[in-house]
Symmetry: C2
Subunit: 251 residues, 2 copies
């Protein structure tokens, strides 16, 4: 059984999160730079909208009674909207006001002192859905429009503004849109199928996410954390055991 | 706090494990195919030999009392030897008999009913150290020789044979050696610096590891596991909560 030696970064989202360990994906890159410091958990659920994801989020968070036994979520990255923004009558469609309400509810699960999952040490980072490229979308994904996804990206920012406690936003929509020179056709460099991210798209989001951590939560930037177990040069060769006891990652 | 929703595959080893989430790395690829089924934990410790790693392994395993609270390790991949095989007087050198003894001790921590960490549901897979390419080795890595590393690879197999319970072996040494046409100079396709793996080297090991899981532990092959939370088409849209309760991954 895996004892609790490292705390975690939880990437909670839809398919764009779930496939973030493919070549060039942001999940794998985060795990690489956070190795020996924090585990990066894949909690991506392809096709899910916020209505369906919230009862899953509740299961992924520990209740206050159980928190002593399990790794702390140091950073929760919450990234939805790509499916919520589907047009009616898609079953994935969530009306924009409900989408915003759902995000606020998710934030409240962690930030509200009345929540059974209250965890003031968890930093929340919301990510906006990326723009879609309607020239590139496969037929089965074509119930998305460029303008609607933009509204849902703005909805994520509105939800962050409405939070009582600090919530960071990584504006993936704007970062990718700017990278593409604000031309929808040029998004094909950053999107693999008009909706999901290519390695170049993940690079844009990864860099924006690392920058957000660096600015908003510098103590959690990977360069500012020490490894749980020491570099090998620090091992006492005559008596290794005491010198390799797990340490706090915060210097 | 991260509640226990997924069990894990723990990759426990030296730097070759630690950097397994870089481009093409075996850790990232495992997490990709096991998404929504098992978490893949990076427990790689650059520069470590088995003498130093065993007191860390003890901290990464839960005692029987704590096992109820933490994720089960369904597969433990134990991959050392690249540093143990350093020639004397390198501080990383571990004599071959002690290396074999250390592996047997590590296996016993999990498989012996007398161990405080006894976990009969954990499947152990030992991996042999890859061959080194002495034509390619950087000066600071040059206390390794081709023949010595081969002896340590054979030592891993000897340790597996000596175990009372089933222990699988992924023979990375032989798989990479054969891929290189049994020519040391041709190893540069599979090794980045004569010691660590290139993406092509990780591909060889990844495929051998997946094949070992498929043959020795088919119920744990990713294609035979169901997702913890259902595909989105299975969500009850009128009342999502009950339909997205976490499920056993074993069908």
């Amino acid at each position: 059984m895996a004892a609790k030696v490292q705390d975690v970064i939880m990437l909670f989202g839809d398919s764009i999160t779930q496939v973030g360990w493919s070549d060039g994906g942001f999940g794998a890159r985060l795990q690489h730079v956070y190795s020996r410091r924090l585990d990066v958990l894949n909690r991506g659920f392809g096709g899910y909208n916020t209505d369906w994801a919230i009862p899953i989020l509740e299961q992924c968070l520990a209740t206050q009674d159980d928190q002593q036994y399990v790794p702390k979520i140091r950073i929760l990255v919450f990234w939805f909207g790509a499916n919520d923004a589907c047009a009616k009558p898609s079953p994935q469609h969530v009306p924009l006001p409900k989408f915003i309400e759902n995000i606020k509810h998710a934030v409240g699960l962690i930030q509200s002192a009345e929540s059974p999952y209250y965890s003031p040490s968890t930093k929340i980072i919301l990510v906006t859905p990326p723009p879609v490229n309607t020239y590139q979308l496969a037929p089965e994904l074509s119930d998305r429009t460029f303008d609607t996804t933009k509204e849902y990206a703005d909805g994520v920012k509105a939800a962050a503004m409405a939070s009582e406690s600090k919530v960071s936003v990584v504006d993936a929509w704007t970062a990718i849109w700017k990278a593409a020179g604000e031309r929808e056709g040029a998004l094909s460099k950053y999107l693999s199928d008009g909706l999901h991210l290519s390695p170049d798209g993940y690079t844009v989001v990864y860099e924006a996410l690392i920058e957000t951590i660096k600015v908003d939560h510098p103590s959690l930037h990977y360069e500012n954390l020490q490894p749980v177990f020491p570099p090998w040069a620090g091992v006492d060769r005559a008596n290794p055991g005491p010198s390799v006891q797990k340490k706090d990652i915060f210097k």
